[in-house]
């Protein structure tokens, strides 16, 4: 491998990331709606339920704040990845795929682009954390790290699925059978306790997002169900698998 090769591939990764970032900056309505939605969960849903529910010593709104961050990562990342179905329909990808840059580099450029979008949105939500009195601001860097690793895995998952679909109909299927179940079964909106029915508990434990929610909740509210290292290990494991799967399917995509 010559030096020129590595340089060219890195330029390719950067080029694809740069393109995604430009698109992100331009689609203002998408940024706004992606931030407004979690705010509605926090303030409308959270305040509504919170009026009659507290969890432990926590206000319900504070309690679901880590869950809503995780939700934002889940939705933002997977949809970002799935978006390549649309890119392919418009032939935008075609010109990129014939460039002298390997598929793997294009894949990583996409992953970085998606993570940048999502992490910027997360930062906006963090900037509002002062509205949630129970949140420990010193836990933010740790939470950010967990969310970033999750975002890498989830964008890869979206790209993997996007490589498989020919049409946009796949969006509905993925929403109904993957994204929403992952969200509801993550403990984002309720605590995982002994009182959960066994079948539900089982599914919650199998969900990778559960460990993101748990880790972030640990960092920001200091309540954990699993030890932090378990959260990290499972999220990293999930992300590595998704990176392999995603780059494999993306490389084989027609």
């Amino acid at each position: 491998m010559d030096k020129g090769f590595i340089h060219r591939e890195l330029m390719g990764v950067y080029a694809v990331w740069w393109r995604e970032f430009k698109v992100f900056q331009r689609e203002k309505s998408r940024i706004i709606s992606s931030i407004v939605q979690p705010l509605m969960w926090l303030f409308l849903f959270g305040s509504g339920i919170g009026a009659s529910v507290t969890i432990g010593s926590f206000d319900y709104r504070d309690y679901i704040y880590p869950g809503v961050l995780s939700m934002l990562v889940l939705f933002g990342s997977v949809y970002f990845g799935l978006y390549i179905v649309w890119d392919r329909k418009l032939d935008v990808l075609k010109a990129i795929l014939v460039a002298p840059v390997s598929r793997i580099s294009i894949f990583f450029g996409k992953v970085l682009g998606g993570c940048t979008d999502v992490i910027l949105q997360i930062l906006v939500l963090f900037s509002l954390s002062f509205l949630f009195p129970a949140i420990n601001p010193w836990g933010i860097p740790l939470a950010l790290l967990l969310l970033l690793i999750t975002a890498i895995g989830m964008v890869s998952l979206g790209l993997a699925l996007g490589s498989l679909f020919e049409s946009l109909e796949g969006f509905q299927v993925v929403s109904a059978f993957l994204i929403f179940p992952l969200f509801f079964l993550s403990g984002a909106l309720f605590p995982i306790t002994e009182k959960l029915p066994l079948w539900l508990r089982g599914m919650v434990n199998l969900n990778p997002l559960t460990y993101t929610v748990d880790g972030v909740r640990g960092a920001l509210l200091n309540v954990n169900i699993f030890p932090l290292y378990v959260d990290f290990l499972i999220i990293i494991f999930f992300t590595v698998i998704m990176l392999f799967l995603g780059s494999f399917l993306f490389s084989r995509m027609k």
Partner: protein, 325 residues
Amino acid sequence: MAIILTNALKKSFGRIEAVAGIDLGIQKGEIFGLLGPNGAGKTTIIGMLCTIVRPSSGSAFLAGYDVVREPARVRRQVGIVFQDPTLDTVLTGRENLELHARLYSVSSRARKERIDQMLGLVDLKHRADDITRTYSGGMRRRLELARGLLHRPAVLFLDEPTLGLDPQTRARLWEYIKKTAHTEQTTIVLTTHYMEEAQHVCDRVGIIDHGRIIALDTPEKLKETMGGDMIVVRAERQPLEKIRALPFVSEVRENEGALEIITKEAHRHLPKILSLMKDVHCVEMRVPTLNDVFIKLTGRDIRDDTVENSGSWVDSVARYRQRGS
């Protein structure tokens, strides 16, 4: 010097043979046209030469590199304008070129200057910072042309570059293609099913049908193979055999109700031919087109197979009228 060289290059999709063994030598600096109806295998040939499609057998070299064994090197030598537009319509014209420059590792020092140069060449400087969604079809095509040439490829492939453009825009784009080929000294390989395009733009034309090259020469030489000028007559009585027997007639054929006669020095022989007919409705005399060459070689009209001209009788009337122009 041949910049592209293929040897029995073949591609099958399942049992369908899209390209049936092609030997092609394209010279450095020429504008080479692949002319043929839709589905003749043109796009597949281009696909193989720019490493998107893997050949079933045979070999192809571009700028000395093997398209199968050294795809990365070939890709760096190649620019492509696809049949369907592939501009990023969320980005501006300049940003599209910047993206491309990075993908092809054009150094950051050279990038800005080169982009400005190419934007100037296709007259898009004034619109460079507008989102390409707002561009007209012709402008998008021009920007794609600039993008394809940005990294100074040895060969630029244009797949049906003027498909879907109106005649005026098409003619303008031809001028841009010729101008850029000249300024950039790039070899251009284009596919088309518009014979005017092949005739007007290309130095040499390969006529392709059913995955085979059935004729290859300059447009002039190809037309000379017709053996003279063309007279098209529509009359009540058209005595085909009598006309064929005339010593100066090299070929006669009935096409869509009209008689097509090929002869040298048509203007001199026209009276004699007309005297054999009765009730002449219309006469047309012209130099043969590449379409005539295609008909002679295949017995079919090049446009018969194309989607946009298929079907109704209105189309065939229009087609008949069009031919004279």
